[in-house]
C-alpha cells in the first residue's frame, strides 16, 4: 500500500532531482546548460499536466499542447509593452492594446484562461472513452491550432509573434516545476484522483459504486489544462517569440514520448521521462549538429532525433507497455526495499 510515508518519500526524491538539476546547471556556469535546465523544468510542468489527466483517467489526450498555446498567447498579449504592440500585433483590439501586466501575473492568467477554455469545451467530451475520446481530442487540437493560426488580432496569424518580455529564468521555472510535482502528487492521492483511477481500471465497476465518471475526468482535464497553460506562458516568456507552429503535432509527440517512456500512470514516471528524454535529445542534437558541421552528407541532417525517440518509444512500449514506472511511484519502490532490508535483519 502506498501510505503517506511513501508519498512523502516520492516527493522528496523527485524534488531533489529538480534541485540537483538547478545546482548542477549553476555550478557548470555554461549558458547552454542553463537553457537546457530551464527547458527541462518547463517540460516538467507540461508533462505533469498531461499526467494529471492521462495517468489518472487512462485516456490519451492530444489536445494538451493546444492549451499550452492558449496560455502562451494569453500571457503574451497581456505583457507585450504598449509601444511594441503596434508592431507586434497591429490588429489588436483597442481594449487589450492598453493593458500591460507584470509577466508573473500574466503567467497565472494564462494558466487560468487555458483552464476556463478547457472547462467550457471539454465537458461534453468527457463522456467518450477509448478511440472516440482520442479522436475527439485530436479534433480539439486541430480546432485550437486552426484558431491560433487565423485569429490574427490576437496571435498575429501564422506569423511569428515577437516582443514578449523575458521573465522566465531557471529559478522561476524550477520553482513552478516543483509546485507542479507537488500538485500532481496531491491530485493523485486526493479523493478525486483515487476515484478517477478507479474509473481508469474499471469504468463500469467504478460507475456502479457511484463514481461520476465524466465529472471526475472533467476536473482532471481542467487541472491538466491549467498546468499546460502555465507551462506555455512560462515557455513564451523564456523563448520571447513564437508562432502557432510551436503548438502542434511535433511538440505533442515529444510531450507524449516523455510521459509514455517514463510511465503515464505515475508522477515519478512523468518526471523521470522528462529527464531521460531531454538528456538524450540534447546528446542527439549535438550529434546532429556535429554531423552537419562535418559536412559528411550533402544536405542538412534533420530528423535523426525524432527517429531515435520514435524507436525508443516503440521499443519501450513493446518491452514495458506501461512505461518505466508503470504502477508504483519511486518512493514506494525505495520504501519496499528498505522494508525488505529491515525484515532481513530481524531474521
Amino acid at each position: 500500500m502506498a501510505g503517506m510515508k511513501d508519498t512523502a518519500l516520492t516527493l522528496v526524491i523527485l524534488i531533489a532531482l529538480v534541485v540537483a538539476l538547478v545546482v548542477g546547471a549553476e555550478i557548470a556556469e555554461i549558458r547552454l546548460f542553463g537553457r537546457i535546465a530551464t527547458n527541462l523544468c518547463i517540460s516538467l510542468v507540461l508533462v505533469l499536466g498531461l499526467q494529471v489527466f492521462m495517468g489518472n483517467s487512462g485516456i490519451l489526450s492530444f489536445a494538451h499542447i493546444g492549451f499550452m498555446g492558449v496560455g502562451a498567447y494569453t500571457s503574451a498579449v497581456l505583457t507585450i509593452p504598449a509601444q511594441m504592440k503596434g508592431m507586434a500585433l497591429p490588429d489588436l483590439y483597442p481594449v487589450l492594446a492598453a493593458i500591460q501586466l507584470s509577466p508573473y501575473i500574466a503567467i497565472l492568467i494564462g494558466g487560468l484562461t487555458a483552464a476556463v477554455v478547457a472547462a467550457l469545451v471539454s465537458y461534453p467530451l468527457m463522456r467518450l472513452s477509448d478511440a472516440a475520446a482520442v479522436i475527439t481530442s485530436f479534433a480539439l487540437l486541430v480546432v485550437l491550432h486552426t484558431v491560433m493560426l487565423h485569429w490574427s488580432e490576437i496571435t498575429n496569424g501564422p506569423r511569428t509573434l515577437f516582443g514578449i518580455p523575458k521573465a522566465t529564468d531557471l529559478y522561476l521555472a524550477a520553482g513552478i516545476a516543483i509546485l507542479a510535482i507537488i500538485g500532481a502528487m496531491l491530485f493523485r492521492e486526493s479523493r478525486t484522483g483515487l476515484l478517477l483511477r478507479a474509473t481508469r481500471d474499471d469504468e463500469t465497476a467504478a460507475g456502479a459504486i457511484g463514481a461520476d465518471v465524466s465529472r471526475l475526468r472533467w476536473k482532471a482535464f481542467i487541472i491538466s489544462a491549467l498546468f499546460a497553460g502555465i507551462g506555455g506562458a512560462l515557455w513564451g516568456h523564456f523563448i520571447t517569440s513564437f508562432s502557432p507552429k510551436a503548438f502542434y503535432l511535433k511538440e505533442t509527440f515529444v510531450i507524449l514520448g516523455m510521459l509514455v517512456i517514463g510511465g503515464a500512470p505515475t508522477v515519478s514516471g512523468a518526471v523521470i521521462g522528462v529527464f531521460l528524454v531531454t538528456f538524450s535529445f540534447e546528446v542527439l542534437r549535438a550529434f546532429e549538429a556535429s554531423l552537419n558541421a562535418a559536412k559528411i552528407f550533402t544536405g542538412q541532417v534533420v530528423g535523426v532525433t525524432e527517429i531515435v525517440l520514435a524507436l525508443a518509444m516503440i521499443a519501450i512500449l513493446i518491452l514495458r507497455p506501461g512505461g518505466l514506472f508503470a504502477t508504483m511511484e519511486i518512493g514506494v519502490l525505495f520504501g519496499r526495499r528498505r522494508q525488505k532490508a529491515s525484515e532481513g535483519e530481524k531474521q
Binding site: 487512462g58 490519451l60 461534453p124 478511440a131 479522436i135 480539439l140 541532417v301 534533420v302 520514435a310 513493446i318
Partner: protein, 296 residues
Amino acid sequence: MTAYIQFLIDVLSLGGAYALMALGLVIVYGILRLVNFAYGELIMVTGYTMFLLGGSALPWIVMAAIGVLMAILAGIATDYVAFRPVRAKSVTAVLITSFAFSTLLQNAALLFISPRPRNVPLPDIFSETVHFAGIVTPARNLITIATAVILLAVFAWVMKRTVLGIAMRAAATHFTMARMLGVPANLIISTAFAISGFLAGIVSLFWIGRIGSVVPGIGLEPLLVAFIATVIGGMRSLQGAVLGGFLLAFIDTGLNYSLPQELLKFRDAFTFSLVILILLWRPAGLMKGPASGQRT
C-alpha cells in the same frame, strides 16, 4: 442548374476519395478496435515512390502500380512494427506506437529525401478539363468518381461473397469466436492492413494528383479526413465509413460555397466542431456496427 451539377460533381469526387480513405482506416479499426495513426504516411509512401521513379522511363500506370504496392507493404509493416508486438497489452500503447511509427516514417523522409516538396509525375489526363452540359470540370474529378464507384463495388463484393471477406467480417463481429472457428487471426489482421494500404495508395494517386508534389507532412490532412469521416459514419461500420466520407465532403464543399471569405479560413475549426457535436449526439456514429465483441 449548372451550379447544382457543379456542386454535385465536387461533392462526389471529394466524397469518393474521402470514402476510400475512411474505409482503409475502418477496416483495421473494425477488427482490432485500434486506430492506426500511421495511416496518413501510407499516402506519403506512395508519393515518394512515385517521385523516386519519376526519372525512369516507365509508363505512368506502372509507376502508379509500384507506388500502390509500396503502400501495401508499408501497411503490412505497420502491423508488424507498431501493432503486433503490443496489441494484446494496452490500447494506449498501440495508439502511441502507431503515432511513433508515423513520426518515424515522416522523419525518415525528411532525413533521406528532403523537407522540401518534391514533384511527382502525373499522367496528362489529370490536367485536362472536360466540358459538358455547360460546366467545366477537371477530368481528374470524373476519374476519381469512377474509381471510387468501381472500388466500392468490388470491395462490397469481396466482403459479402468471398471466404476472405466473410472471415474478415466475422473477425470484426466477434474476434475470439472467429478464431475458435478456425479463422487465422494474424493472417486476417495482416490482410486488413494490406487492404488499408491498397486503398491509401489509390487515394494517394488522386490526392497527390491534385497538388502535384509530395512533402513529408502530406499524410496529416488525409488522416484527419479519414478520422472524421469514420467518426461521423460510425467507427465500426464499413457502410458507415463510406457514408461518413460523402457526408464530410458534403459539409466541406457546402462550407466552401456558403461561408464568407473571412470565415472560410476557419473552415477546419467549423468542420471539427461539427464532428464533436455529432459525437455527442451519437457517440457510436451515425451507423452502429456489429455488436461489440472482445478485443484481442
